[in-house]
């Protein structure tokens, strides 16, 4: 069963009198264990695509099955539950809570999940996720005490905490220098190697080359869907 199956997805924004078709009939399937880079210039519809795939937004028409479940008609609260349990977000600007320790940040999604874990169980799980990204020794650091790359790795740990079906990364290296970008991409490759499905939104071709498959957007349509021929592999994965 596909992790993502999208059929004829349309998203129309009403800007006053004018209708903007941000997504105009997109169909796409992503199987478990894939590492897909979504590319396109600004205005191509890739952000709208990411909002819908991330269950932050609903399509105007078309179907979206996440992990076999139709999520295109769900209301706010149900989508929140889906985001919490099945999707791990990684954002361009990290989006960690300020003045909050790395461990507390990683633990945050568990607060809103219905898992019913005890406080010590949540701690332990958050700690394991920090170990995966190699930051267990920084668990008591606040975001302001961490470098950009470290902050992004904390964000990845947070995305992993509920063992999601899908990791959705929106320009995760946009705020990072080349070296740290490589580092962070290494973390994604490692997670993918371990079986995680990763969808990466980016406009940089060299970042997209870390994935296994590239899909291209232009004017709200899918214009490219190719495997990565010469995949860039990060040698020293965290």
């Amino acid at each position: 069963m596909d992790v993502i199956r999208i059929e004829n997805l349309v998203r129309v924004y009403q800007m006053g009198e004018v209708e903007v078709r941000a997504l105009d009939g997109v169909s796409l399937s992503i199987a478990p264990g894939e590492f897909v880079a979504v590319m396109g210039p600004s205005g191509s519809g890739k952000s709208t695509f990411m909002n819908i795939v991330g269950c932050l937004d609903r399509p105007t028409s078309g179907k979206y099955y996440l992990d076999g479940v139709d999520v295109s008609e769900l209301d706010r609260d149900d989508r929140a539950e889906i985001r919490n349990g099945k999707i791990g977000f990684v954002f361009q600007s990290f989006n960690l809570l300020a003045r909050t320790s790395a461990l507390d940040n990683v633990e945050l999604p568990l607060i809103y999940s219905s898992s019913g874990l005890r406080a010590d169980e949540r701690r332990a799980r958050a700690m394991r996720c920090l170990e995966i990204v190699g930051l267990a020794n920084r668990h008591d650091h606040q975001p302001s005490q961490l470098s950009g790359g470290q902050q992004q790795r904390v964000a990845i740990a947070r995305a992993l905490i509920n063992d999601p079906k899908l990791i959705l990364a929106d320009e995760p290296t946009g705020n990072l220098d080349t070296k740290t970008s490589e580092e962070v991409m290494g973390v994604f490759q490692k997670l993918n190697d371990e079986g995680k499905t990763v969808v990466l939104i980016t406009h940089e071709a060299d970042i997209a080359e870390h994935a296994r498959r590239v899909v291209g957007f232009r004017d709200g349509r899918l214009v490219e869907d190719t495997p990565v021929a010469h995949r860039r592999l990060v040698a020293a994965r965290a």
């Binding site: 539950e81 985001r83 954002f91 809570l97 003045r99 607060i111 809103y112 019913g116 005890r118 947070r158």
Partner: protein
């Protein structure tokens, strides 16, 4: 439940993160609740004090003053005594609702004992006076009918006078001089304390009214008389009977103004009670306004906080917080601020009340109900003023909120 506790912790952490701002926000509630508590304490205290004094005075007690005349339409007290000793005796025997009566003739004089003297009021009364006033003789005995008939120079001292003139010695059997007449002290009255107006009731000398009237004042007319009804409920009836009897005895036509006035202790009590109640309500409402202002302060800060933390709200929503989770979190913050403010305010208010009681000798009384009410009110203010900002936060769109800088 587990989730609620966790969100509770999140809310409390947010408060702890902004200590100064949280403290300043709570300050509005603290001052409001402290004011309400202190004002209720003062109000209830004075009301209770008045009640206590009134019941000590006896609530079935009536005073009948002579002489209200109409002059150019203005009802004034002329001071012309129209009430006679016979009137008093008639009220005593002919009004079934009246239990006891006593004529009163008042004077003021310097009382001298040895080398000490004391200026006080001299009350000339009849033998039933202790029953009318429910005021007992502590030492010695009340004078009897023969002393009244003979206008005997005997007196009883109020405890303040006894202390002033005899300084702890037993005054009974001693002689005091009033306006140069020697009076034998035959008793000391029990201590009564201050009255409704705060005057010392024990600063008094009691003597037969005949003696005060003829010897000290040189008149044959009494000043007024007092009566007591058979029970508290019989007061209105006694009042009616006295009025009817006196009008008949004074040959007043229907429609003509009475040449006397009757004042019951109940009326005085009611007036005093209403005055203090009005005062309490006034004080409490002034204090409530400050509580309201404190509530608006909470709303203000919570609104600022929602705007300032839009991104945080967006992050929380993106990773799975539902609208009601955000609502709960912000409501808890508002509620925690107002409850903490309420608790500190109660402590401060109780402290202020104690301070007033101790420093200004104000009678302070704080009922647990008042404290509970103030606390509940501050919590209600937290929910009321916290709800709008919390709801605003819960309705944010996660995509917009995440984009917010």
């Amino acid at each position: 439940m587990l989730k609620f506790l966790t969100i509770l912790k999140v809310g409390l952490k947010a408060i702890a993160r902004n200590k100064l701002r949280s403290a300043l926000t709570a300050l509005g509630i603290i001052i409001g609740v402290a004011c309400v508590i202190a004002m209720i304490g003062v109000g209830q205290g004075s009301q209770a004090a008045i009640q206590a004094q009134i019941s000590a005075l006896g609530t079935n007690f009536l005073m009948i003053f002579p002489g209200v005349a109409t002059q150019s339409g203005a009802r004034i007290f002329t001071g012309q005594s129209t009430i006679t000793e016979d009137d008093v005796a008639a009220v005593g025997t002919e009004c079934p609702a009246v239990a006891y009566v006593t004529p009163v003739s008042r004077s003021a004089a310097q009382v001298v004992a040895g080398n000490l003297n004391w200026g006080t009021s001299i009350q000339g009364v009849g033998v039933e006076w202790p029953f009318v006033r429910s005021w007992n003789v502590d030492k010695g005995a009340m004078f009897g009918d023969s002393e009244v008939r003979a206008a005997a120079k005997v007196c009883l001292l109020g405890s303040t006078v006894a202390d002033a003139l005899f300084e702890g010695q037993d005054p009974v059997g001693q002689t005091v001089r009033i306006k140069n007449f020697p009076f034998r002290v035959i008793g000391v009255l029990e201590t009564k304390g201050g009255n409704t107006m705060g005057q010392d009731q024990d600063d008094v000398v009691i003597a037969p009214y005949t003696t005060v009237m003829r010897l000290l004042k040189g008149t044959t007319k009494i000043d007024m008389f007092m009566a007591s009804a058979v029970s508290q409920n019989a007061v209105p009836e006694a009042q009616k009977q006295i009025e009817a009897l006196l009008r008949q005895r004074h040959r007043l036509q229907p429609g003509q103004d009475s040449d006397f006035m009757i004042r019951s202790q109940q009326e005085i009590a009611q007036t005093a009670d209403e005055t203090s109640r009005t005062l309490s309500v006034l004080l409490a409402s002034a204090a409530s306004i400050s509580l309201l202002v404190g509530g608006i302060g909470i709303m203000n800060i919570m609104l600022v906080s929602v705007t300032e933390r839009t991104r945080e709200i967006g992050i929380r929503m993106a990773i799975g917080a539902k609208g009601r989770d955000i609502l709960t979190q912000f409501l808890i913050e508002a509620l925690a601020l107002s409850i903490a403010g309420g608790a500190i305010g109660i402590a401060l208010g109780v402290g202020a009340s104690r301070f007033l009681a101790w420093k200004a000798h104000w009678p302070i009384m704080l009922s647990p109900e008042a404290v509970g009410l103030a606390f509940g009110f501050s919590a209600a203010i937290g929910i009321f003023f916290g709800f709008y900002p919390a709801r605003k936060a819960s309705l944010l769109d996660p995509i917009e909120a995440l984009r917010y800088e």
